[in-house]
Structures are given as structure tokens and as C-alpha cells.
Amino acid sequence: MLILKVLARGPMHGFGIAERIQRLSDEVLRVGEGSLYPALYRLQDRGWIASEWGQSENNRRAKYYTLTRAGRKQLEAENEGWDRLCLAIRQIMQSA
């Protein structure tokens, strides 16, 4: 979901996504950067993101990932689900 969120801002390559997630999460989520890739391949297999080769900022060949229409829909759905979950947790916390 994080990946989808990151890609919602525009196409990006793997390194960029890793950087972004780290920065967004204030370095809290610090996992092996490599484990990003299986996730990317899975999302691609589900058709939520697409990829193509392009030029990176410093003139290197890099694979850029973009969000597909299905991916955008999925993100919305997950957002909603997430909100609902948060709401539920908050209610439980408050009532307890």
C-alpha cells in the first residue's frame, strides 16, 4: 500500500521508491531495501503497477514504475479500508 501511495505521485524507479518510503516514514520502517523488489513484482503481476525502462536523473538506464488505473482503484479501496480500521481502533481505544 505504501508503494502504491508513493507511486500515486508519479512514475519512479526502485531506488527512488525506497528512498521515498524511508523519508516519508521518518526512517522508522527500515528494512532491507532489496525486499522492496519482490513486492514490486507482485504488484506488477496483479496489474496494479506497470513498468518501463527510462533514463534516470543522472543519465542511467532505470526501470520506472507507474500506477495503473486498477492500481489507483486498489489504493482508494485500501485507503478506505485503512481509514475504517483506524476509526475502529480509535473507537475501541476511547471506549476502553
Partner: protein, 884 residues
């Protein structure tokens, strides 16, 4: 759309694996380089920066593997790997593979062959479009001489004409009838079966002539030009497939017909018709009685059978009501119902049952084959225990090991399936004789898509069935125990031994059921061969002449014709005697008459009128067939028209009606006539398996018949005289064809052919079952001895005698045999009743057969155990102990 895209990526993942891997590697390298760059910019030195980047990325190879899994084709790759590996293992043990594949070939082949037969006999559908919309029209009536109602296909011609007109909105009806005629006009006269079909018949079925046209409506009406359609077969045979046949004239029983078309080769309709003529002409052609037509119908589009039935029925009710008010006679009749029945006839119960028997038998063979291969796999698995233990210890999941073993067994069953299909192709040729009876003309035994699909299913199922249990047993997740047990084998695991022995018991039980079935059938067949049919079938030639009704309309002309040809045939050198009878033995043609009274023995009042079987024979018939005249005399040439009418009865008739008195001299009352019984002759069985019926026989000279089968007793090979006899017959009237030329012995063989074929098939199945079961028990005993060599060595070293060892080993075998026999006996008791229709003068639970088969099976099995047992008893304790 999404599935399509996914399919494409899967496809790419499977076949462009290298390319994808390269891309992935490049992407990851780029990532690490970017990270290194970033680290350098953050102030690290290049070496450190790269190390840090790698560390941050994680273990590359494992990530790559995880990435590959995401492609979703891993299972497929693994399956391919398993198959490849399985292939290599099988290749490495050719002996095991050959035995298993051959066993499975036998099992699958038997099933595919039998299923193709079942497919042809029971499942394949008519070649007409939208068969579901086709119906047969039937009537439910109560005949005045019967107490119960019957459902019949025979309809009333004028009623049918009304129905066609009244129900046009729901159904299109077409009448048809049939008959036999002498075809002449081009070449030698020939006997043909014709169909008389309405002009709507072909459109209703959805068939079209391949050449020419269908009948025009006006041709199916009085005054229309007589037209004919040829069957494809007749067109090819008699006219050399000449397209110029259209417009030619043929003669059926002397009447001219113009050929207007040729029917397609696929046109088969219940009986086989050589020629089709317009329906209304059939009454004219038959001459002597009006046809009771059958009818087929096609429902109008969108009309269901129930709707049509309702509409039909209500209109018919109204019609009957109206008639009832008009006619006195109608009021006495019960109300009749009309039924729209399934077009596809259900095969006769007997056919269905014999198919069931075959399916069961081949199923048992397959079961035994599976059990055998399962056993082989179990033993093999036991000796590969170490291999699996190592794999499990190295981290393979149990599922993976099971999958790999399953791949092996599937490969085996696939190979067996291929072999089985080859066997089935050959088997189809053998099975053709079964496809007899009315279905035979319609269907052909062959392997089609349905049979292929079923074979594939059987293959997959067997692969899993015989593979799964051994695979589970061999891969139990205790590597250390397995490694230990394997390294110093003591005796095999209890569970596996149980399983192995259980499989052998199952094999024996199945083999026993089959053998008992085969034994029962063989006994029946032998007793059938020994049956005295009541006549001497050797050196008798039979042929039939069916006279054209228009040319020989009355009894006198018919009798004159037959008298003359018998005279001419008698003159052929080598002919001893000539007799004639419309219903000779094996002909399945019988004639019955009602309203016959035995003088002085009136039927008790209130009884149903007695139907009596009768025959019409020529005086020499008894001499020609060797039927003994028991008392009195046979009829002779003086018993002709005008002379006092005489009758000869058979023994059964005399026994039934004159149990105490002499039958000769008694009289039968037939209408106003009295017939004097002049003689009693021996009983004749209609076929070897049917008991003789009471019958009285008239002289053809006193009651003519248009159709007679000549029985010609010869002094030498009857076949050699066929040509000369036919020529003599044609010399009298070239338009009357002789057909059905066959010796009586051939007819006897033919009448036994289905039984013989059933017996052969069943016998083949049970012999293979027996062999497989013997191989099974031998294998299990030998294997368990090979595992216990050490134990036996120790026993002998401690003073055990040879006899003790023998008893030990044979004991194991005996247990299995006893179990198999008991289970098999129970199975046979439950199942042999399905064979009842195939048996003759034998109970399905004949104790003698049961005992014999049990002894045979147990004896053979003991012999199979004896060899390994003897070998075991000769074990030298020293070698046995040292052999590890």
C-alpha cells in the same frame, strides 16, 4: 482483459526466463549503484559506500529467488522439474518401469476398449441436428385380447393424417413404414429392405439427399409419379456411385420407380434401408395388408415437449369423444392416449446389463493393475528411503517430496495410458462382434473424443490413486529414523507391510470375482454347445425367397412357385432333400395364431384366448433337417388344396394338449375348418438357449406364404452348391431374388457369436487379472523375504528348521490368499447375478464353480509363494548374517 494480460506475462515468465532474469539483475545493480553514489555523496569512501549499499540491500540471491516466485509460474517450473527428474529416475530403472507400464497398459487398455464399446452402444447420439427437438409418436392402447395397456409405436394411418393436420402449430410429423422387396430393373434381381417415408420425413430429421432431391409433396399423394431415393450403400454397390443414376428406373417387386436422389452415407434410421419410397406407395407395394405406420416429429422452435404433448393430447381427446358419439363400436373401446417419446431409444435392458458387466470387469482389471503398481512403488519407495531422508534433511518440504513421487507415478500412468490407447485400438476390432442387434447398424466401435477424454481421466486418476498412498508412506517426516532404519534394515515398517498385503488381498478378491464370472460363462457356453437342437445342422444350406406381392398375390400362386423351385433345386447334383419353412431355426421369426381350439378340449371359459405358435412347412422339411417323425406320418404332396386339411404337431404340443391320449387322429378347429393331426415330430429349439415351444405345423400346399426359407441338405460341402442353387431359382423368375445364403452351421455359430465374444472378453480379463494378482503376491512375498533374510539367518543359526522357515513364509502368503478368497467370494456372491442373462442352465451362485475357482486360485497363489519360500529356506545363515 486482465486475464489476457496475466496470461501474457505468465507466458513470458515461462519462456523468456533468461531475459527476465537479466532485467531483474540490471535493475538491482542500478539500485545498488545509486545507493553507493548516495553514500559517497554522504561522505563515505567508495569501498565503504559500496559495502554499505550491499548491506542495506540485503542478500541478493535470496531476494532474486523471492522475486522469481512472484512471477506465479514457480509451481509450473517445479512441476516440470519434477517430471524431468521423474523421467530420469524411471529411465534409470527400466525393469521397474517396463513392468509398471505394461501392467497399466493392460488396465487402461481394457477400460478404453470397453468404454469405446459402451460409447458406441449406449452413449453416441443420432447424427441429426437438434436431436432434443425430435420425438417418436407412440400410443397407449389396450388391445381387446389383453388385460393391460401397452405402449406401441404402431399408429393408425388415418388418425395419423388427422394429427399431422391438427397439430401443425406445435409439431411437424412424418409417417414412415418399411418392408422388403425384390429390386430389379438393372442387373440381377436383389432382395432389399425399403423404407416408406413421407415427404416431410427428411426435413423433420434434418437430413438432405447428397445427390438429387427429396420427394415432392405431390409424389407422396395418390396419382403422383412413383419416385425412389437410394441409400448411399446401394448406390455405390449396385450403381458404381454413378451420378447419372438420377432419372433411371428401378423396379421394386415389379413396379417401376424413378430414382430422384441419393441419401447421405450418415443416413441411418433404426433399421437399415436400401431404398426409400414415398409413404403412401407402401400400401400398394405390400399388396396384402395396409401399413400401420410409425411416426417421428420435430417440435416447432420454442415449443417444449410437454407443451406439445398437452396440446396433442387435448385435441386427440376431443377427436375420440366426437367419434364415440357417432359410432357405436367406438364406445366399447377404452380411451387411448398419445405419447411424445424420446427420439433416442433406450437400449434394451439386456444390452445395458452386458455393458455394465464389461465395465465392471475392466474396472476390476484396472483396480488390480493399480494395486500392483502401487505395490511396486511401495517396495521401491522403501528401498529409496535413504534418498528421501536426505532430501527431507536438506530442507525439502514433505509436500515437495510427495509431489515429486506423484510426478513419477503420473508419468508411469501416462505411458501406460498411451500403451492402453494402442491396445484399445486393437481391442476395438475384437469388440465389433458385440455391436450386434439394432444398434449395430447405427453405431461403430471406435475411439472418439469422448473415449480419449475418459482415458485421460482414468490415467490421471490412476496415477494419483496408485501413487498417492506410497508417496505418503515413503515421505513421513522422520528423516533420522529413516536414515537409521535404512542403514541397518531389520524388518520393514509395519504400516507399509500392512498396506502391501492389503493391496494383494484386494487384487485377489478382484481376480476371484472375475474368474468366477468367467467360469460360470464358460460352463454355460460348453453346455450350450452340447445342446441337442432337435435337428442335424451339418451340410444344410439355407436361403430365403420373399415373393413380390403384386405378382404372387394368393396362396395358390405362392405355393405353386415354391413347389416349382424346390423341384428345380432338388435336381441340382449333390442335393439330397429340400424343405421349406418361413421360420427356420435361428431365424427369430415366429408366427402365432389365436382362436385355435383343440377339439374335445375346450379352453376353460373366461380365459384369455390362447396364442399358439405355428409354422408352415413343405413335406420334405423334416427329412431335410433330420427332424424325427415320432408317430404317425409327415404331410405329403397329396395333402394339397382341396384335400382334407392336415396338421403335424411337435412333441411339446402333443404333451401339453394330449397328455394321456395319442395325438394322431385328433382334430384342431381353426375358424370353420377342422384340421386332422396326422403325425407328431420331434421338438426343435428356436435357438440353442431357448427351450422348444408347443407348435403345430401346416403344409404350405394348404396355406400359402409369400416368404420361405429353403433348407437344402447336401451330400458334400453345401457352400459349393450355393451358386448352382441360386441360378436354378432365378431361372424360374429372374425378378425373385434369393438372399440370406448361409449354411445352418454358420447360423448356429452366428447365434452363439455374442456369447462367444462375451466369454472370450471376460476370459481374457480374468486371465490377466489372475496373472497380475499372482505377480503381485509373488512380488510381495519375495520382497518381504529379501527384507527378512537376516532374520531368517538368525532363526536358522539358532536352530530353526527348514520347515519352520517354509511355514513362516507360506503363512504370510496364506493369510493374504485366505483374505482375498473370502473377500472375493463375498464380492462374487453380490455381483454374479448381473451375469444371469449370460448364463444358461446354471445358477449365478453355482457352488461347484465357486469351489473350483477357489481351488484354482489358491493353488496358483501357493505356487507363486512357494518359490520365494523355498529360496528362503535354503538361506545359509552365515551368508545371511554377513550380507549387510
Amino acid at each position: 482483459m486482465n486475464t489476457l494480460r496475466r496470461l501474457r506475462t505468465r507466458f513470458r515468465a515461462l519462456f523468456k526466463k533468461g531475459e527476465l532474469d537479466l532485467e531483474m539483475e540490471e535493475e538491482m545493480r542500478a539500485h545498488i549503484e545509486l545507493r553507493t553514489q548516495a553514500n559517497i555523496e554522504a561522505g563515505m569512501n567508495p569501498g565503504e559506500a559500496r559495502l554499505a549499499a550491499l548491506r542495506q540491500f540485503g542478500w541478493t540471491e535470496s531476494i532474486k529467488e523471492t522475486c522469481r516466485e512472484q512471477r506465479g509460474t514457480l509451481w509450473l517450473e517445479q512441476a516440470l522439474q519434477d517430471l524431468q527428474y521423474g523421467w530420469r529416475t524411471l529411465w534409470k530403472s527400466p525393469g521397474f518401469t517396463a513392468v509398471s507400464v505394461l501392467t497399466l497398459t493392460l488396465g487402461v487398455g481394457a477400460n478404453s476398449a470397453v468404454f469405446s464399446l459402451v460409447n458406441a452402444m449406449l452413449l453416441r447420439r443420432s447424427p441429426y441436428p437438434d436431436v432434443d427437438q425430435l420425438v417418436r409418436v407412440q400410443k397407449q392402447v389396450r388391445y381387446p385380447w389383453e388385460t393391460r395397456t401397452t405402449i406401441t409405436d404402431f399408429l393408425d394411418a388415418s388418425e395419423l393424417a388427422d394429427w399431422r393436420r391438427d397439430n401443425q402449430d406445435v409439431i411437424q410429423l412424418a409417417p414412415y413404414s418399411w418392408g422388403e422387396a425384390n429390386l430389379s430393373g438393372t442387373g440381377e434381381a436383389e432382395h432389399v429392405d425399403y423404407g416408406a417415408i413421407g415427404d416431410s420425413f427428411l426435413p423433420v430429421l434434418g437430413a438432405q439427399p447428397v445427390l438429387g432431391r427429396n420427394f415432392l409433396p405431390e409424389e407422396d399423394r395418390p396419382g403422383g409419379a412413383p419416385a425412389a431415393l437410394l441409400s448411399h450403400g446401394l448406390w455405390r454397390r449396385r450403381f458404381g456411385a454413378d451420378p447419372g443414376v438420377l432419372g433411371k428406373m428401378i423396379r421394386l417387386d415389379g413396379s417401376p420407380f424413378t430414382v430422384v436422389g441419393v441419401l447421405p452415407p450418415s443416413f441411418r434410421f433404426r433399421e437399415h434401408y436400401d431404398v426409400c419410397i414415398p409413404f403412401f406407395l407402401c400400401a400398394k407395394l405390400k399388396g396384402f395388408f395396409s401399413p400401420m405406420p410409425h411416426a417421428v416429429g420435430r417440435l416447432r422452435p420454442g415449443v417444449s415437449r410437454a407443451q406439445a404433448q398437452t396440446a396433442f393430447e387435448s385435441r386427440y381427446d376431443a377427436e375420440q369423444e366426437q367419434r364415440r358419439q357417432q359410432q357405436e363400436k367406438e364406445r366399447k373401446k377404452d380411451k387411448e392416449h398419445v405419447l411424445l417419446a424420446n427420439f433416442e431409444e433406450r437400449p434394451e435392458a439386456e444390452v445395458r446389463q452386458s455393458m455394465l458387466v464389461f465395465l465392471g470387469a475392466s474396472g476390476f482389471v484396472l483396480l488390480i493393475a493399480c494395486a500392483n503398481v502401487g505395490n511396486l512403488l511401495l517396495s521401491r519407495g522403501a528401498s529409496r528411503q535413504k534418498e528421501f531422508a536426505v532430501r527431507l534433511a536438506l530442507g525439502a518440504s514433505r509436500g515437495r517430496v510427495v509431489r515429486q513421487l506423484l510426478a513419477e507415478s503420473l508419468l508411469l500412468s501416462l505411458l501406460g495410458g498411451l500403451g492402453g490407447l494402442l491396445l484399445a485400438r486393437w481391442g476395438c476390432a475384437l469388440l465389433r462382434p458385440f455391436a450386434s442387434g439394432p444398434a449395430a447398424a447405427v453405431q461403430e466401435v471406435s475411439i472418439d473424443g469422448r473415449v480419449l477424454a475418459l482415458t485421460f481421466l482414468v490415467v490421471a486418476l490412476t496415477g494419483v490413486i496408485f501413487g498417492l498412498a506410497p508417496a505418503m508412506a515413503c515421505s513421513h517426516p522422520a528423516p533420522q529414523a529413516a536414515l537409521k532404519e535404512g542403514s541397518r534394515s531389520v524388518s520393514e515398517g509395519r504400516r507399509q507391510r500392512r498396506m502391501r498385503e492389503g493391496l494383494v488381498v484386494l487384487e485377489f478378491a478382484s481376480a476371484m470375482v472375475l474368474l468366477i464370472g468367467a467360469g460360470l460363462m464358460a460352463k454355460s457356453f460348453v453346455s450350450l454347445l452340447g445342446v441337442n437342437s432337435g435337428f442335424r445342422p451339418d451340410r444344410v444350406l439355407c436361403l430365403t425367397v420373399s415373393l413380390s406381392g403384386s405378382k404372387y398375390p394368393d396362396a395358390r400362386s405362392q405355393a405353386a412357385y415354391f413347389q416349382e423351385i424346390m423341384e428345380r433345386v432338388r435336381a441340382v447334383p449333390g442335393v439330397q432333400a429340400v424343405g421349406a419353412n418361413p421360420s427356420p431355426p435361428f431365424s427369430q421369426v415366429g408366427m402365432v395364431a389365436s382362436g385355435i381350439e383343440v377339439e374335445g378340449h375346450p379352453a376353460p371359459p373366461g380365459n384369455q384366448p390362447d396364442w399358439m405358435a405355428y409354422g408352415i412347412v413343405s413335406p420334405d422339411y423334416f427329412r431335410a433337417l433330420g427332424i424325427p417323425v415320432i408317430s404317425g406320418r409327415a404331410m405329403n404332396d397329396q395333402d394339397r388344396e382341396g384335400a382334407p386339411r392336415v396338421v403335424v404337431v411337435n412333441e411339446s404340443f402333443a404333451r401339453r394338449h394330449f397328455p394321456k391320449e395319442n395325438a394322431v387322429g385328433q382334430r384342431l378347429k381353426m375358424g370353420k375348418d377342422f384340421l386332422t393331426i396326422v403325425g407328431v415330430v420331434g421338438d426343435v429349439r428356436p435357438s440353442p438357449s431357448d427351450a422348444p415351444q408347443p407348435q403345430f405345423l401346416l403344409s404350405y400346399l394348404q396355406s400359402g406364404t409369400p416368404r420361405m426359407t429353403l433348407a437344402i441338405r447336401t451330400t458334400r460341402d453345401p457352400r459349393a452348391l450355393a451358386g448352382a442353387v441360386r441360378a436354378r431359382i432365378l431361372s424360374l423368375d429372374p425378378e425373385q431374388a434369393a438372399f440370406g445364403v448361409q449354411t445352418l452351421e454358420e447360423q448356429l455359430q452366428d447365434s452363439l457369436a455374442p456369447r462367444r465374444a462375451t466369454l472370450m472378453l471376460f476370459g481374457a480379463f480374468s486371465v490377466s487379472a489372475l496373472l497380475l494378482a499372482l505377480v503381485g503376491i509373488y512380488g510381495v512375498v519375495a520382497y518381504s523375504i529379501s527384507l527378512r533374510t537376516q532374520e531368517i539367518g538368525i532363526r536358522m543359526a539358532l536352530g530353526g528348521q527348514r520347515a519352520d522357515v517354509l511355514r513362516l513364509v507360506l503363512g504370510q502368503g496364506l493369510w493374504m490368499i485366505a483374505g482375498g478368497v473370502l473377500l472375493g467370494m463375498a464380492g462374487a456372491l453380490a455381483l454374479t447375478r448381473f451375469l444371469a442373462s449370460q448364463l444358461f442352465a446354471l445358477s449365478p451362485t453355482d457352488p461347484v464353480t465357486f469351489t473350483e475357482v477357489t481351488l484354482l486360485l489358491a493353488g496358483a497363489a501357493l505356487l507363486a509363494c512357494l518359490r520365494p519360500a523355498l529360496r528362503a529356506s535354503r538361506v545359509d545363515p552365515m551368508t545371511a548374517l554377513r550380507c549387510e
